[in-house]
Symmetry: C2
Subunit: 413 residues, 2 copies
């Protein structure tokens, strides 16, 4: 992509109405646009990052048998009344609206009810199970406060997966494999070492749920952590009983700020009982389906990555999710050479942002640091004289001049 054509412009100053570092940097670099508190447009660079995160998540969900689909934002009142979750006293984040044709609808803050209801058309026998489905969906939540940039949105993209199984063993097996798949996602995003499976409040049918909490100063959660023992407990549930159960004392735990990047939730059979989702077992007996739900906050992850991988000059994207792999910068009177190199990069399928703008070198370097593409390649009369191009990793200080041949060897690795 030629940067002269990219419509977004960088900003020198942070927007005054934005306290969160993630949103400040993402707005300044042109990744997102704040429509209102908690709702951000994804501009071309931002959409590319989100699509790359989605691709990683999609691949790992497919590996454990997930089938992708997508639900609607509009939801039926009757369905949520059945499970007692239509009331604003129970669920305090509903957006609701009146239908012109009569009646009231809700906008999707979550999807267990409609998905379980839809499954009634497709599940009748134990032979139809297990089923694992997932979607990337826009969630709408009427949050009272939205102050953490894209880490807590009123509108945000979530990957939510649902499991439908017939035995406790099948259910538990998938629950465990989803944990592993989640850790693989966080590994590929470069945050696995800072991400802990954390005990959190359960529901009516399980003692605990599991959250994936990533160490992050801007996170909204606090967890008690023992890194060596790998024990993490959400502060909300820390009691003497819980400590006892985990064979750990409070002194051994450190209270640290984290961001919840994922969660998995065990419904047992209760949700299916409420919704009326039954199957016939091998003996012809009607049983409620076992259900679990498994979320990953996609846009929140983008925010967490920025919070963790940035410095005073801008973002430092992990390679797997960077909007482009290479930021090619032409300095001075090198247009022909730079155009040629850009073409070669394209022919080698190396996705490149090419700063071909008529701008000062200082501006180009500052923008490059702000945007945070992992590898910067500068072509200037100086680099040409020295026999090639200057290459510098965004995460490192030192640059070196190498031949074009060496450049492609390095990039194609």
């Amino acid at each position: 992509m030629r940067q002269s054509r990219l419509f977004t412009k960088t900003l020198k100053e942070s927007p005054s109405d934005e306290q969160a570092l993630n949103a400040q940097l993402l707005i300044r670099a042109g990744y997102i646009h704040k429509e209102m508190a908690g709702a951000y447009m994804l501009l071309p660079l931002g959409l590319r990052v989100v699509e790359k995160i989605k691709t990683i998540v999609r691949e790992e969900m497919d590996k454990i048998g997930g089938q992708e689909f997508i639900t609607t934002s509009m939801q039926k009142k009757e369905l949520w009344e059945k499970t007692g979750r239509w009331s604003d006293d129970i669920v305090d984040v509903w957006f609701k609206s009146k239908l012109k044709a009569g009646g009231e609808i809700g906008f999707a803050w979550s999807h267990e009810e409609p998905i379980a209801n839809m499954m009634k058309n497709h599940i009748s026998s134990y032979k139809d199970l297990p089923i694992f489905v997932y979607q990337f969906q826009n969630k709408l939540r009427n949050e009272l406060r939205a102050k953490s940039g894209i880490m807590r949105g009123r509108e945000f993209i979530m990957k939510d997966m649902y499991s439908f199984t017939d035995t406790k063993e099948q259910h538990d097996t998938f629950y465990e494999s989803s944990k592993e798949a989640y850790m693989k996602v966080f590994e590929r995003l470069g945050i696995a070492n800072d991400t802990y499976i954390t005990y959190a409040a359960g529901g009516a049918f399980t003692e605990f749920s599991h959250e994936f909490q990533t160490l992050c100063n801007a996170g909204e959660d606090m967890i008690y952590l023992n890194k060596e023992k790998g024990i993490a407990i959400n502060e909300e549930i820390l009691t003497d009983d819980v400590l006892k159960e985990m064979y750990v004392t409070k002194d051994e735990l450190e209270l640290v700020p984290t961001a919840e990047v994922g969660n998995i939730f065990n419904f047992g059979r209760s949700k299916a009982e409420e919704v009326g989702l039954f199957y016939n077992n091998a003996d012809g007996k009607k049983e409620a389906v076992w259900m679990g739900s498994y979320g990953i906050g996609i846009t929140r992850l983008m925010g967490v990555l920025v919070e963790k991988f940035s410095d005073k000059d801008g973002i430092i994207w992990p390679k797997n999710v960077a909007p482009y792999s290479v930021h090619l910068i032409a300095i001075g009177d090198t247009t022909d050479k730079a155009n040629e190199l850009y073409k070669k990069l394209q022919n080698n399928n190396i996705d490149t942002l090419y700063d071909d703008r008529d701008a000062r070198p200082g501006q180009k370097f500052a923008d490059s640091d702000l945007i945070g593409i992992p590898t910067r390649v500068v072509i200037s009369s100086k680099s040409i004289e020295a026999g090639g191009v200057e290459i510098k990793e965004r995460a490192k200080k030192e640059a070196q001049i190498i031949t074009e041949e060496k450049l492609f060897t390095m990039l194609n690795k």
Copy 2:
């Protein structure tokens, strides 16, 4: 994909609450699930078709310089008040809701206002223009009636593109190139010969807008058409003056039912003036930006394709958008052979739905016709004896038995 694992089941009977053929077939074949009138989940097969349509549209929009991004569903009251379109008397399809934090928001039925407003951050000089952006977005419209299946949704996916240009020439040039790009999309979808650029009602600043109307008995529009002259006029605007202007008489025109699959709309400079989107021209003078908007109904297109390409047994997908290219069906005791062939198809990157279910041949053939994958490949003891596999196009009656080698030659073409 092994069909035994695909969670959707086919239905013999059409759902009683669905009059539209497109929704009847898409529901019966397991492509979509009706959440409520005008709002459908896209199940795995349906999502695949929609993604293929999106890919075609994306490629053509990129070719004419489009940059993809995505806006929010939540929209600000103040912005729409500015252009006089917040009022339910003016725009009668708003869904609105109250913010807990105070105030009211709208849900996106259209996006000109927020996009033009966002562009104020990125457009200041004529040097920043032209800009062409597009998105695939969920539109929410509070329609009084929703009776045409997925051809008129209360929630639906639309590709909307917006042009921002500084001169009338640049504006007109892009307007024309968007027409060509649209016709290429419809060509790739197999409906170009039945799709007419149709004169329709304009706005305050242009006499006409242009709709892309596809001949379709289930369509909600009626146009006056002269195929030979290539003249198409929406019945809403047919007057003696219009006839005169088009050098055509009413006798030469035929009134036909159509579905509006796309539209392009010329805002001139009026929208930018309303929103306050200005740039400095080469002389340093402040001018309003020229704007156009360009829509394609993605989920509606899926419906139109089903209406046009189906028979009494089910859907007949055009190859470019079929959820899979090949439907492999194993009959009788041929599992090993079929598994082997399935693996070969995968290794050749031929996306295949493999009916490995333990079901009667009649059921498998009926489901295959209903689902409508373009090429059916049957492996049975009969076909093996005759030296290979049976191949049949969904659109044709005759089947033939060919060798596996010939099969791959045909499929790789």
